[in-house]
């Protein structure tokens, strides 16, 4: 019987695929060298308001004169560019990078929404056999996020916020691309369904040894448009159980306010125009807390 050497025992010929993957990682590292801190905004649960939190946090930090980037990691359901008021105009590209779009308050934005053919165009890839697309589509999606990180000319940033799609796997992938983020914010609501889903992400974050991790409890009550009085929106109040069981602190509790959601959807984050509203005030306090960590981040 023949006895073969292992792959690693055979000499390199310089063309191997691992070397190209290593080159991709090096490019990513080079690009992010001028980014002072990266924060992941995830959840594990869909529909909890991750993008709205990310957009308002980005705008609030930018309004405090920090240079802020917003990367929409949700390539299938992109919404961050719209929420940050970024126009779908042409992005300047040269041989070394693609310029991000300009969002409100000087934010720099990259999103699949800026690249798709029309507002209702689903994300579809050119592929030889669409029926077998499930084999490589997730690889392409992960590759797209990697390119958004490494190939966008972000320039010097104080903070890059990455808005992740729902799913614990997306958070796990992001932590592989960015092994040492400055922090992770997990958005939840007081519902029991959200608690159960976000608990999985909380465990993943804890086991990854992330330096800072906080829960953002969105829809933490309903703020009356007239008097501002806040009533409970979910009877379960499961967020308190999540805090207790996950060991993660709630960094912000954001009440639901219809006008807040409408303004954010229209690309004008209320932290800029209505900073005294109950939801905006909670997000501005969150921005201050995130900003306070910059003192410990290397330049």
């Amino acid at each position: 019987m023949r006895r073969f050497r292992t792959y690693n025992q055979v000499e390199e010929t310089g063309q191997e695929l691992p070397a190209q993957v290593a080159a991709q990682q090096e490019r990513l590292k080079d690009r992010l060298a001028s980014v002072r801190s990266i924060w992941l905004v995830g959840s594990g649960k869909g529909g909890v308001g991750k993008s709205a939190v990310t957009a308002n946090l980005a705008a609030a930090l930018a309004a405090r004169s920090f240079s802020v980037g917003g990367l929409d990691g949700d390539v299938n359901g992109p919404s961050l560019a719209r929420m940050l008021g970024a126009e779908r105009g042409p992005l300047r590209s040269d041989g070394v990078g693609v310029a991000p779009a300009a969002g409100v308050a000087g934010t720099r934005v990259m999103s699949m929404d800026l690249l798709l053919g029309s507002a209702d165009a689903p994300l579809r890839w050119r592929e030889p056999d669409a029926a077998a697309g499930f084999i490589w589509q997730s690889t392409l999606e992960a590759g797209a996020v990697r390119e958004f990180l490494s190939d966008v000319a972000w320039g010097t940033l104080d903070i890059l916020l990455i808005d992740l799609p729902p799913g614990t796997d997306k958070l796990s992938r992001a932590l592989q691309l960015i092994p040492e983020p400055a922090g992770v914010l997990l958005v939840t609501t007081p519902s029991e369904a959200a608690r159960a889903a976000v608990a999985r992400s909380a465990r993943l974050v804890r086991e990854a040894g992330v330096r800072r991790a906080g829960l953002i409890v969105n829809m933490a009550g309903h703020a009356c448009s007239s008097c501002g009085h806040v009533d409970a929106l979910f009877a379960a109040a499961a967020d308190h159980r999540l805090v207790q069981e996950s060991g993660m602190e709630a960094w912000a509790r954001i009440p639901f306010h219809a006008g807040f959601a409408t303004a954010t959807d229209a690309g004008r984050p209320p932290v800029l125009d209505d900073p005294n509203g109950p939801a905006a005030a909670a997000l501005l306090a969150l921005a201050d807390r995130v900003a306070s960590t910059l003192d410990t981040e290397p330049l």
Binding site: Q15, L17, D129, E147
Partner: protein, 152 residues
């Protein structure tokens, strides 16, 4: 993956890449000691799997372009999503101006606008790195094969 010449117990080296059609990728590897050659044929699914990683069998001939994977893979890209400068990805490769023949320009015009600027830069980089002064359809064919530009 590596290919081993069993007679010489030596890793074979990449020699040539071709796209013969129907999504097949052909890559030729040769033994540096005895000269024996083999051709690896990847079916369209295998070719797609490799390209989904943003890597090229046999290595890269020109630097990777910004958002190359997204731009070359997206089925329904916005035609005016990019405003492409002609700056090369590798400025050190610049050896002189590269011009395009009318036929080559005509052929380039058939490339979707979402990806056209990037494709133009790839062909230009290819020509610059080889000291080619004028890009013709024949040069585009050669570059397409050498670079494995499936669908470009």
């Amino acid at each position: 993956m590596k290919f081993l010449c069993l007679a010489c117990d030596q890793a074979m080296e990449f020699a040539e890449r071709q796209l013969p059609g129907d999504g097949t990728l052909a890559a030729v590897f040769g033994c540096p000691t005895c000269g024996r050659e083999i051709a690896m044929l990847a079916n369209p699914m295998e070719t797609q799997l490799v390209s989904s990683l943003g890597i090229k069998v046999g290595g890269r001939e020109v630097p990777e372009q910004p958002l190359e994977l997204v731009r070359s893979s997206l089925a329904e890209g916005r035609p005016d999503a990019f405003l492409d400068d002609s700056a090369p990805a590798n400025p050190s490769a610049v050896q002189g101006p590269v011009t395009w023949s009318d036929d080559a320009v005509q052929r380039l015009s058939h490339v979707p606008t979402f990806v056209r600027g990037m494709v133009k830069r790839i062909y230009t980089d290819y020509a610059r790195e080889r000291g080619i002064e004028r890009i013709t359809p024949e040069i585009m064919d050669t570059a397409r094969t050498d670079l494995g530009l499936e669908g470009m």
